[in-house]
Symmetry: C2
Subunit: 209 residues, 2 copies
Amino acid sequence: MEPVRAEDDAVASTTGSRRPRRRRDEIVEAAARYFADHGYSNAGMRDIAQAVGMRGASLYNHFQSKEEILYAIALRMTEDPQQDLLLLEGEGGPVERLTNLVEAHVRRLARHRVEHLVALRELSALTPEHRRVVTDYRKYYQRRIRDVVDAGARLGMFEVRDPHQSAIAVLDLMNGISWWLNDSHDVDQLVRDYVDFTINGVLHHRPVR
Amino acid sequence: MEPVRAEDDAVASTTGSRRPRRRRDEIVEAAARYFADHGYSNAGMRDIAQAVGMRGASLYNHFQSKEEILYAIALRMTEDPQQDLLLLEGEGGPVERLTNLVEAHVRRLARHRVEHLVALRELSALTPEHRRVVTDYRKYYQRRIRDVVDAGARLGMFEVRDPHQSAIAVLDLMNGISWWLNDSHDVDQLVRDYVDFTINGVLHHRPVR
DNA sequence: GTCTATAATTGGATAGAC
DNA sequence: GTCTATCCAATTATAGAC
């Protein structure tokens, strides 16, 4: 069972959702950078506004609160990856499918490094309701990974004691990237490393040579 | 070269460091719990005080600011693990030494789960100076791990492309634990799993059977 | 949709008695 | 070292003109 989409609340409706989204996205992006650099608690609405070239008050035409900006970031970083889960129903067996997912996950993370870091780190600054929505998405994602790990283990392709624990390790490993990644890293190499760390490493898949 | 000890500033000197530390530690512990549950930005001095059974103003007999409480948490969680580094000069070869360190790290983390989470997550809420001290410790710790990985790799006991990258992965993997660990987990099993994930997994050590 | 001006409140921090 | 009382700065958020 998938988590319910969070189309409901103010985040989607502040602007009429008919794609005058540009400005909103600019704000989200600038805010994410500022949150990443200085921390959510040290970021004022004035700071965010300045970073996007407007006055503090103007932000309230796009978001109802500072927390809602954070929520927009967090929601995006947990909703978007859900589409990668289709890879788990794609070609190949568990190994190929999971490899594809790891690659997609790492590439997405590299693409949205800053927002990803903020979404992970500032989760506790969300309201309980918003935090709930985000963690539900994450739990679902984790469960889907666990299921592939489990499937692979049953076929003898992975060697794991507890698929649940291994899935957590795989996710922690990948998400850890957002803490230290910077532009000097070669993303292709990163992907190769992390496919190795997860598939051959944590999950003990022995490549057939 | 080791990082300089941070004995200097206010954290150690607020109380005369002659062990009327009990109260201070109570505050740190209560604050850590509150920060972990609600986030640093959502925690007020009054909240922390209430959690330890005093009034907000009284906290200032022990700490000069809210940030300093956080710093005390972060400092402790980065200073203490440094002593485990002695294990890297202890018995056995690189594999045994690193295994010992992983075990110590995971056990310590389990023992101080809450503070560890806060120290990781709220790093960005520290002042630049304090953040610097903490990250210096962490960098040193990481470098030491990298060196053992490197030594093991040269001896053919680990199979890694880049010891630096592998060391990061090992640390991210372990630190990830603090996000989800709770009292229902069996720490011994956890240690076994994470020794496997890191040593046999990420570092591709083949146990000699 | 952005601005200036300002309201309103939170919340970190201090003063001074006990 | 803790309390009550309070200050005061920061900052979220609003009002209303343009």
